[in-house]
Symmetry: C2
Subunit: 424 residues, 2 copies
Amino acid sequence: MNDSELHHVVIIGAGFGGLAVAHQLAGAPVRITVIDQRNHHLFQPLLYQVGTASLATSEIAWPIRHLLRKRKEVTTLLAVVSGIDAARHEVLLEDGATVAFDTLVLATGARHAYFGHDEWESYAPGLKTLEDATSIRRRILLSLERAERETDPERRAALLTFVIVGGGPTGVELAGAIAELAHQNLAADFRRIDTRKTRVLLIEAGPRILPGFTADLSAYAHTAIERLGVEIQLGSPVSECSARGVVYGAHTVAADVILWAAGVRASPAAAWLDLAADNAGRVRVEADLTAPGHAEIFVIGDTATINAWKGKPAPGIAPAAKQQGVHVAGTIKRRLQGDARVRPFHYRHGGNLATIGKRSAVIDFGWIKIRGRLAWWIWGLAHIYFLIGLRNRLAVALSWLWIYTTGNRSACLITQVDHRPKPK
Amino acid sequence: MNDSELHHVVIIGAGFGGLAVAHQLAGAPVRITVIDQRNHHLFQPLLYQVGTASLATSEIAWPIRHLLRKRKEVTTLLAVVSGIDAARHEVLLEDGATVAFDTLVLATGARHAYFGHDEWESYAPGLKTLEDATSIRRRILLSLERAERETDPERRAALLTFVIVGGGPTGVELAGAIAELAHQNLAADFRRIDTRKTRVLLIEAGPRILPGFTADLSAYAHTAIERLGVEIQLGSPVSECSARGVVYGAHTVAADVILWAAGVRASPAAAWLDLAADNAGRVRVEADLTAPGHAEIFVIGDTATINAWKGKPAPGIAPAAKQQGVHVAGTIKRRLQGDARVRPFHYRHGGNLATIGKRSAVIDFGWIKIRGRLAWWIWGLAHIYFLIGLRNRLAVALSWLWIYTTGNRSACLITQVDHRPKPK
């Protein structure tokens, strides 16, 4: 059989879901094309540590084609998808090229969303990409640098105020890491400002932080993060983000750095397929993760929504995307063997984890709840285990060990600001 | 004595020279202000390894204020200097602020220069900053990605041609590292192109590469780098760089990636002081490294030129800048003790080093010349030794060990390209 006669699986997006499909199809009689708009797979659970100067970008990201280099039947393309022609079975690329498919897997993820206030993005960046992380790191460090040079006390206070909008795991992890950075790690570095007095404000619209956790773990995290010096404001939807700061209820807080961890919106896969989406833009997929009306198109991960967790939607976390990828690969392999039965996807929940600074965490495995230092160690070991490759495990372990024992963060770099003098 | 009555030394630039002044003034009855337009000190000798995906940015750069955090008399400012008012003893900052000094040290370095063709910079970037390095890495990797998708053979050939202009140590190190990256490390990662056929062309205007080395070491390097697959073109000044490629003599080479390692130009310190400069913009300083007519202003490193090496100019390398910094600190300390005698600076040459890929190097200590694998090990150990801090030594050693044994480079990331979909 000629290679080009093999069943062609096209996977768009090399996140946890897309890569799981590619890995599980090893050995199947298919050829595979992986398309991503970036050249790297990103370990998003640790992205906040790049944003807060603990890890380097290369410690949590790997070139996709390198991850798949031993799979000769896999072609990786760096390209931006602009649409799908479902009738002709073609993916349309932004540069005008097309890629034909027999089976298509859409695993294109999500971006942060501003509930109809896209204009807030330039004032309150979110954290989804390496660029987001280096941009957040630059904003945090530049704000401290500017405070060191500012003489007006009011402006200085605004430069020393960091606001995090959203009390989910990302917001809590960012707030904890920023508090430790300012209150502990950088305390000896400045002469005119006292970074220990930096105000770190976590604003949550709902009645408690970490709403995905049980009430007692959420209360524990509340106390633990306050102990790190984070101020928490509950029941406070933000009504404005601007260059001046944030407004919630009747309060205005002057702040130069606002970070957004309050919501995500799926990539435009639903629009590509002209399908109904939920209010976060996710495709409501069938029980077997196919797009309604398109048996040969699967949608997984943050791009899809499915009530596959005891009647509730599967959560938007890495394990859910991976399990869906494995399920889709299984379906594809069975179909190639002539078995077209629909097997519904069921999500198996491993647990919820969130860190609170570098000494504490909360973990809810369902059957057991762990909090404090032991939870932090389990969290750390689990994340090192899930990193790809021995080299990154060693590098991240070294970085963490170093920060843990010395308090010195290794990646406090302000980059991508063009300071160069104008040519004469 | 009140702190503000202490003699105030202002150091502009926290490169090797500026930091040496600050370090050597420890314990002297002075207060010090260090001004830099970036927040980090950069270990430039290893910058080409960031540009060619071997090292991460944070492995060779350190926040200046962190390096000086234990010195309570040192204030670090992130600011852009726009001029010097020598009569009023004031440094002028771009934002309108001024900093008064008793003694001023200008250690502002150099940028790459295009011999009057500044318009070449966007086509042929040089390598002086972390941003330069990540930009070069992005260009190299993107060119391979585009070649993988290109169907026109002529365009594909241009995408697989890398031109390095300038055969000094930086050009040789870049060419060797790019050849290894394309011909060895990435060979298994692509499906449609054969990266082993990538053309790496090193163009040197003079009669041999590494003109600062002896003729036999230069000849050895020539052979060694050709063995890595680099094509060398000698006696060929480049007459044009454009989006199409480079022109030298009667030849035109179509290439998407052109890297510039052919010349530098000092920062505008001479213009700030209204002093004569040599043709590379460097201030011709007095024997004690003071600016002519300004006994209280020192100019060191790549910003200055002085015939302090047996009648020849001291070279533009890190050890020369460091020695000058130490000399200046000594002069300042003696002056504070009432000893105003002029002590001329003499440069002591330690040696010349250049690497050729990851298995070979040439070293000229003067009294002994070493080449090949042993030279590479000496080069590697010397550079790890000169890195700042145990953590970075461990991290770089781990990165090198990994590349050396596995051939996998850890930092093949394309970043800072805005791929995000337009908001709907």
